[in-house]
Symmetry: C2
Subunit: 393 residues, 2 copies
């Protein structure tokens, strides 16, 4: 039987435009908190997994430079990348290192300093991560354009409107306003969103996540160590993953991300969750809302709603606290911010704090079932990781 793995410490930097710090200083903000939260110090860490895409930043070997700055030399380390799902991929690998018995205590850090490059360059660099050869170089598509394809398909098929999508942004800004670590602290209205300028029709500025700098860190421990360190371990119950073609032209439709469906199916099977009724098991979820349409697709890919009915959850406010299943109470990528490789780790930090019932007033989910879900997508659905966190091992 594999060894159980718990999160015993979490840390999270302020997300935003962080010209005030270097990449290593930014990572250290969350590493320091995670060490303090777990009650351990650097010598207790046996291996460090860094999630970082980093093409926008000057540091080509972030793992070793951060490791040194954080006092973690000579610990073994590696950098992992799965585009916007890098953070969840790093947690999967950190989990497996501990579960395998190769280490008892592993630090996982997601960090990104995107604003080191000018915004148009960043948009181009992200765009190359669609399918470089066919879609970026040949047609010049960037990410708002890719997700606009999904939005138009969903609107045409199911009658969703631009106002419906704006309601996702309104919810996520509302919760970000209560999250002191969020990039955006300001609430918006549907009218604000509808009046914002088009980026790629039907997506407007307020349908898009920002280009953020930030870091997040979690400390993973084996069951034996976790029991000694804390009375409130949060267990990694199950991890699912999948991949898909990088060519949107080869996808069957634009109504679902197949990699996410695959990842959810695997995670539910491994966690013993009924895939036809996951909301019966899960108290709260963080989903990959890089654009508002992506949150609606996530509801359906995860089985929170039937096909075409994700938009009903939005209209009925079922993903607010008190609804069927609260989603993105951190503010999500949309309003908390999306420092690419930090995002999956940030989701873990948020869900650990939700399960421990220690987040800020107004954005705490009721915890009755003891499970939480993170849904993290790379590229335009190229990769997906779904991770189930639990109060019970």
């Amino acid at each position: 039987m594999p060894r159980r793995v718990a999160i015993v410490g979490v840390g999270h930097s302020r997300f935003g435009i962080r010209h005030d710090v270097s990449l290593a200083e930014l990572a250290w903000e969350s590493i320091k908190q995670a060490l303090d939260d777990a009650g351990v110090d650097q010598k207790d860490i046996e291996y460090v997994v860094y999630a970082n895409v980093g093409v926008w930043s000057s540091e080509p070997l972030p793992a070793v430079v951060i490791n040194e700055y954080a006092g973690l030399t000579p610990r073994g380390t590696v950098r992992v990348e799965a585009a916007c799902a890098s953070g969840s991929a790093a947690i999967k690998l950190g989990h497996d290192i501990v579960a395998s018995g190769q280490a008892d205590v592993v630090l996982v850090v997601g960090v990104e300093k995107m604003n080191e490059s000018p915004t148009p360059i960043v948009v181009e660099l992200i765009g190359r991560a669609g399918n470089y050869f066919w879609e970026f170089q040949s047609f010049g598509l960037t990410f708002p354009g890719y997700y606009a394809l999904y939005a138009t398909a969903y609107m045409a098929r199911y009658g969703a409107t631009e106002e419906d999508l704006c309601k996702v942004a309104v919810k996520n800004h509302y919760y970000a306003s209560m999250n002191p670590k969020a990039h955006f602290q300001r609430r918006i209205t549907v009218e604000d969103c509808m009046r914002s300028r088009y980026i790629a029709w039907p997506l407007k500025l307020y349908d898009c996540s920002p280009i953020s700098d930030g870091s997040a860190a979690v400390i993973l421990a084996s069951e034996e160590v976790a029991r000694k360190l804390t009375d409130t371990p949060v267990w990694i119950k199950a991890i699912g993953y999948g991949s898909d073609t990088s060519n949107l032209s080869k996808r069957e439709d634009f109504l679902s991300l197949r990699a996410a469906v695959e990842a959810a199916r695997m995670a539910y099977r491994r966690a013993g969750i009924d895939p036809d009724n996951p909301v019966k098991y899960i108290d709260v979820a963080e989903v990959h809302d890089c654009f508002t349409i992506a949150e609606v697709l996530a509801y359906e890919d995860l089985g929170f709603a039937r096909r075409g009915e994700g938009v009903k959850l939005v209209r009925e406010e079922q993903t607010y606290v008190g609804g069927l299943i609260p989603v993105n109470l951190s503010g999500g990528l949309k309003a908390k911010g999306h420092p690419i490789a930090a995002t999956g780790v940030s989701m873990a930090v948020e869900l650990v704090r939700q399960l421990r019932q220690e987040v800020e007033r107004g954005r705490q989910a009721p915890i009755r079932k003891g499970m939480a879900l993170a849904h993290n997508v790379g590229g335009t659905g190229h990769y997906a990781y779904v991770t189930i966190y639990s109060l019970e091992p």
Copy 2:
């Protein structure tokens, strides 16, 4: 007790300047061989770890693009990077995934297409991987300059000569001439090497590994699956790793890579190898000879020779077949070639084939003890991984 992990299939592309293939095609050359060697097909693979640095190539998301080309969609995947040690880091993570019970069969692929960029750009990009801020940007050092510091220190302290270093190149070219996958197929003499032009004194052209394109792949399996697939599994007996400061100005001396010493110590402890006499246990080794001096330092960091006596192994030809411990019978980075992230996986492929006694005539080590060692360094000793492969679990 952790699950044992074996290598059940290996594949290796021709190394060299490979303008004839795309990155995905280059990876496929070794993936196809590894699948055939293991007697499995794509549907048997549960997860894929890609090692790729890739800054010199146009493909920003190599993992998903190769996965798709190789028919591995929708399998979960990730890219890992630890500079020139990326391949061994990928094997460590692949090992841990299988050992943890999260998967029974994992494919690990190292691939690099460095010649997509012009050589001066590649040299600059590698140079940034020293310490970008302090050493590359401030002093303009590139890798031959870094390793020249080690060479001059070693020559001054221990009386080694340029001829001694050239003898390492002569050995590695000699064995590469028998390896059809090697970048260089031509033998050289000490005189050829001594006459070659200085790159960074005392290192000459023939002291330096080339800029190569190439791929290598291994299939890892749990014990239960491995026993079904093959009569000649090669086990991953132990993995050690370490890291060090990225600033050469902070290193105590230039006579050893501390990360490699740390990695060797851990690997020997985990494998039950006496660190004072490792050659008693090991039949053959592949070490990280990015420059000839690096191979001499490796002998000492690994305990094959005492401090200052690595050069004696060279002079006495003790690392040829028939000597104390044969090293780099593949040709090494120096002559087989060094497609950065492919290198650690290439070492694994070579050592599996050595242990199975199936390499080309003239470069097969006598296999009497059943263990082989790979020593893979990232940056200028920023990271190191030492992996012990064995015929017995």
